[in-house]
């Protein structure tokens, strides 16, 4: 059966048809043969009986008269003409079984003897015998004189005759069968072809399709197969038609896919950003676009196989997260990666899950934000500079005082010396002491300034918020007092330290205080309330959170503005008075230190800025200047 299964459809149909026809024909032939044999045998027997009976009739008188010559003549007559073929022999015996006449011209065959006939036998007997080379029906018919049996006529009917007939019939049948078989052979061949040729064409179509060749529909060698289809309306035609439709749709969608693939490929290759395709689990780089090779200074081949993590300060955990469907997410921002030559760059990494050659992969696109970060730094620096500008007036004023004292002291001494006036010892002591003290004062102011303007170290330090606040207080306290603004500190000494930078924090606090001062001044100007200006700085801690609040009773922030105050360039100041960089920078710095900043305010009621930082449980280092 397996062999059958392995045949092609055409051959299956063909073999089935042919086999069926053959089987049916053979069955018919066998059946007919059996039928024929039985009927012919019956006929033969009947004929034999008939002949024997007629001979019996004629031979009656001659048996009685024992006229062997007549009996012989009768016997031979039974074999006249075409009976010769059917009647093998005929013998006439008397009731004792003695052969009176027979037709064995060449001699009675060996072992052959007349069948004994019973005294009271009435009907004929038929027996199968073999006489010489012939297989015969030996029919015995009694010759009766009245009721007495006086002899018998025994006739041998040649079964071979039947077989001869049957052979002839068989031959006829065979010829017929052969013709039918041949006809059916070709018919079924044709039928099979008719059915399977379109199928074969379809197979050829699908084969072409599977190889991605969509443009065969117009080819002429396909035409014959589909050509005959216009006349057909059967299932094959329907199948082929719908198949062709499917093909053309498939072709067009494949075309679109190819175009989008090309688009993707060109995007990948000419994308202005480095794009990596990395393995989902191992984070091994599977592919990188030319820009990535260019930016990072490695060959594309060198890149594939490297782990993405080896390029820089990447966190594996950042990649192990749930990716929302269809979106790309920001994995990390401001990640430092290193080029082959060791130079660093800052990137944002966006990631998107995808499939790459049957593997789960992630497409990681990196955006170079080195310039941005540097600009950020520059902005911070600029803001610092702006602040510095603001501070410089105060600083200048601050420094002027000790300078003045020193100058006047020394001028006095010079003048007295030129006039040759003696300087009293008390006056001398006072002047000298004062000079020295003022120099120290000036130096301290310079020191503070220096520390304020220093660029922050990269690594965060453990610092005390209170200390920063106090430093700022030293810087701006006098200024504020000059402007009749009260700066009060309510600092909780028990707060934990935080991870930050001193000068940056000072910048933050300074910024807030400055804004508060400006707000208060604005209110004073509008309301004329000279003595009411108040800025209060509070620090507190709550569990693992450290917080500070800068509260003022200035003009306050209107409701609709609260959302935008942290936007860059938001400023209420007039042109030229301030760049509005303060709050965004403050927010940036706070965020850098994993903190949050928020504001509560209402118009006319002042504002309170609250900053929260995660507490750092490490020990505070020794106080240093």
């Amino acid at each position: 059966m397996k062999r059958f299964d392995r045949l092609t459809l055409k051959n299956k149909i063909f073999v089935s048809c042919l086999g069926f026809t053959l089987v049916v024909s053979i069955l018919i032939a066998l059946f007919t043969r059996a039928l024929l044999i039985s009927s012919l045998t019956g006929e033969l027997k009947k004929r034999g009986v008939g002949i024997a009976q007629s001979v019996a009739e004629s031979s009656r008188v001659h048996i009685l008269t024992k006229n062997r010559a007549e009996l012989t003549a009768l016997a031979y007559d039974a074999r006249l003409g075409n009976r010769q073929k059917v009647v093998v022999y005929l013998l006439i015996a008397d009731n004792r079984g003695t052969v009176l006449a027979h037709t064995f011209t060449t001699g009675i065959p060996e072992g052959f003897g007349p069948v004994a006939i019973e005294e009271n036998a009435s009907g004929e007997q038929v027996a199968d015998m073999r006489v010489g080379p012939h297989s015969v029906f030996h029919i015995t018919v009694p010759v009766k004189e009245g009721i007495y049996t006086i002899g018998s006529v025994q006739i041998g009917m040649d079964r071979g005759h039947i077989e001869g007939l049957i052979d002839r019939l068989r031959l006829i049948f065979l010829s017929f069968l052969s013709v039918v078989t041949l006809v059916f052979f070709f018919l079924s061949h044709r039928l099979a072809l008719n059915i399977t040729r379109p199928v074969t064409s379809l197979i050829r179509y699908t084969d072409h399709l599977s190889r991605g060749d969509f443009h065969f529909l117009g080819r002429t060698d396909m035409a014959p197969a589909s050509g005959g289809l216009e006349d057909r309306e059967d299932e094959i035609a329907i199948l082929t038609n719908s198949f062709m439709q499917m093909t053309s749709r498939l072709a067009s969608s494949t075309e679109r896919l190819r175009e989008s693939q090309q688009k993707y490929r060109s995007l990948f290759h000419s994308g202005p950003n480095p794009i990596f395709v990395i393995h989902r689990q191992t984070l091994e780089i599977l592919d990188a676009n030319p820009k990535a090779a260019e930016v990072f200074g490695y060959d594309r081949d060198a890149l594939t196989g490297m782990s993405l993590l080896s390029l820089g300060n990447l966190n594996r955990e950042a990649f192990e997260r749930a990716y929302p469907e269809g979106k790309s997410i920001l994995i990390s921002s401001k990640v430092t990666l290193f080029r082959k030559d060791g130079r660093s760059l800052f990137v944002n990494i966006h990631a998107n899950p995808a499939e790459y050659r049957d593997r789960d992969a992630i497409i990681a696109a990196t955006t170079d934000i080195t310039e941005l970060v540097e600009k950020d730094d520059q902005l911070i620096q600029a803001s610092k500079m702006a602040n510095l500008e603001k501070m410089s007036a105060g600083i200048a004023h601050e420094i002027n005082q000790p300078l003045n004292a020193i100058k006047m002291g020394s001028e006095y001494l010079t003048m007295m010396h030129e006039r040759r006036n003696p300087v009293g010892p008390e006056e001398l002591a006072m002047v000298l002491t004062e000079i020295s003290a003022q120099v120290s004062r000036a130096s301290e102011i310079v020191g503070r300034l220096k520390s304020f303007s220093r660029k922050a170290d990269f690594a965060r330090e453990v610092i005390s918020l209170n200390r920063c606040i106090r430093s700022v207080h030293k810087i701006v306290g006098r200024q504020l007092a000059l402007q009749n603004i009260d700066l009060t500190l309510e600092l909780d000494e028990a707060i934990p330290a935080i991870l930050a930078h001193n000068n940056r924090m000072e910048q933050v606090i300074f910024n807030l205080v400055t804004n508060a001062r400006d707000a208060v001044n604005e209110r004073i100007e509008t309301t004329g309330d000279i003595d009411g200006g108040m800025i209060r700085i509070t620090t507190f801690s709550d569990g693992d959170v450290v917080g500070l609040v800068v509260k003022d009773n200035g003009t306050g922030i209107p409701e609709d503005r609260k959302a935008t105050i942290f936007d860059s360039f938001y400023t209420t100041k007039e042109m030229g008075e301030g760049l509005g960089l303060g709050l965004p920078i403050v927010q940036g710095i706070v965020r850098d230190y994993s903190g949050t900043i928020s504001v509560t305010s209402s118009l006319g009621q002042g504002a309170a800025f609250k900053i929260l930082f995660p507490a750092q449980t490490n020990q505070l280092p020794e106080q240093e200047h």
């Binding site: 007036a393 200048a396 004023h397 002027n400 005082q401 000790p402 300078l403 003045n404 004292a405 020193i406 100058k407 006047m408 002291g409 001028e411 006095y412 010079t414 003048m415 007295m416 006039r419 006036n421 006056e427 006072m430 002047v431 004062e434 003290a437 003022q438 007092a481 000059l482 402007q483 009749n484």
Partner: protein, 241 residues
């Protein structure tokens, strides 16, 4: 002569006291504007030195109040770095002079002498009013040197006068500007002067300015006039009784 020094910086006050005492003045000190006004009311000083930046009542307020009293008191404003704006305001309020911190001896001397001269003039009744400005133009025919003389107070009201005067003048190679002892100027006057000097400077003349007090030179330098003309300082005498 009585001098009152008002400054919220104690060391400064101490130095001032030493200096002025050494010059022979009778020195009074005050640490705040209010205290200073109190002392002024009681001691009636002739010259007042006041710091311009102070918490509470600042120097400008002091100057205003003193002017309101109408006393013939010379008020010298002590300015710090970057106090240009306040200095202008003080000039508007007819401050006598101003000196810059850190205070130099020459500056101090110049301020004192000017103050005394003005007091004298006022006492002798030849003090000019606020509005009076005295200007003249002479041209030396031989050298072509143009000499401009400024006296009195140069304010916005002097504009017409100045204009008339100087359109007649034909600038030569050299222009000399002489300022009198009683010369004073306000904010608008400065801008007028600057535009005038620009006119001359534009025609390629070399301008010299003389007769300004030490502090006024300082002041003109701050206004940027030293770029348009050469400022000649005068010898400063030592004040003293």
């Amino acid at each position: 002569m009585k001098i009152l020094v008002i400054d919220d910086e104690r060391p400064t006050l101490a130095m001032f006291k030493l200096f002025l005492a050494a010059y022979g003045y009778e020195v009074f000190t005050a640490e705040s504007g209010e205290q200073g006004m109190a002392v002024f009311a009681s001691k009636k000083p002739d010259i007042v030195f006041t710091d311009i930046r102070m918490p509470g009542m600042d120097g400008l307020e002091v100057l205003r109040q003193i002017r309101e009293t109408g006393a013939f008191c010379q008020v010298v404003i002590i300015t710090g770095h970057g106090d240009m704006e306040r200095a202008m305001a003080a000039l508007d309020l007819d401050a006598s002079d101003f000196i810059n911190k850190p205070v130099e001896r020459a500056a101090l001397n110049s301020a004192l002498i000017r103050a005394e001269k003005r007091l004298e003039r006022m006492a002798s009744g030849t003090g000019t009013g606020e509005d009076a400005g005295d200007f003249s133009v002479t041209q030396d025919a031989g050298t072509g040197q143009l000499t401009l003389c400024f006296g009195g107070r140069l304010t916005e009201s002097s504009e017409a006068k100045l204009d008339k005067l100087f359109t007649a003048a034909v600038p030569g190679d050299k222009v000399v500007c002489r300022f009198a002892d009683d010369f004073s100027i306000n904010r608008q006057g400065i801008s007028l002067l600057v535009s005038l000097l620009r006119r001359f400077d534009g025609s390629g003349s070399h301008i010299t300015i003389s007769g300004l007090s030490y502090n006024y030179i300082r002041f003109f330098e701050m206004a940027g006039i030293d770029k348009l003309a050469t400022l000649v300082p005068e010898d400063v005498e030592e004040p003293g009784l």
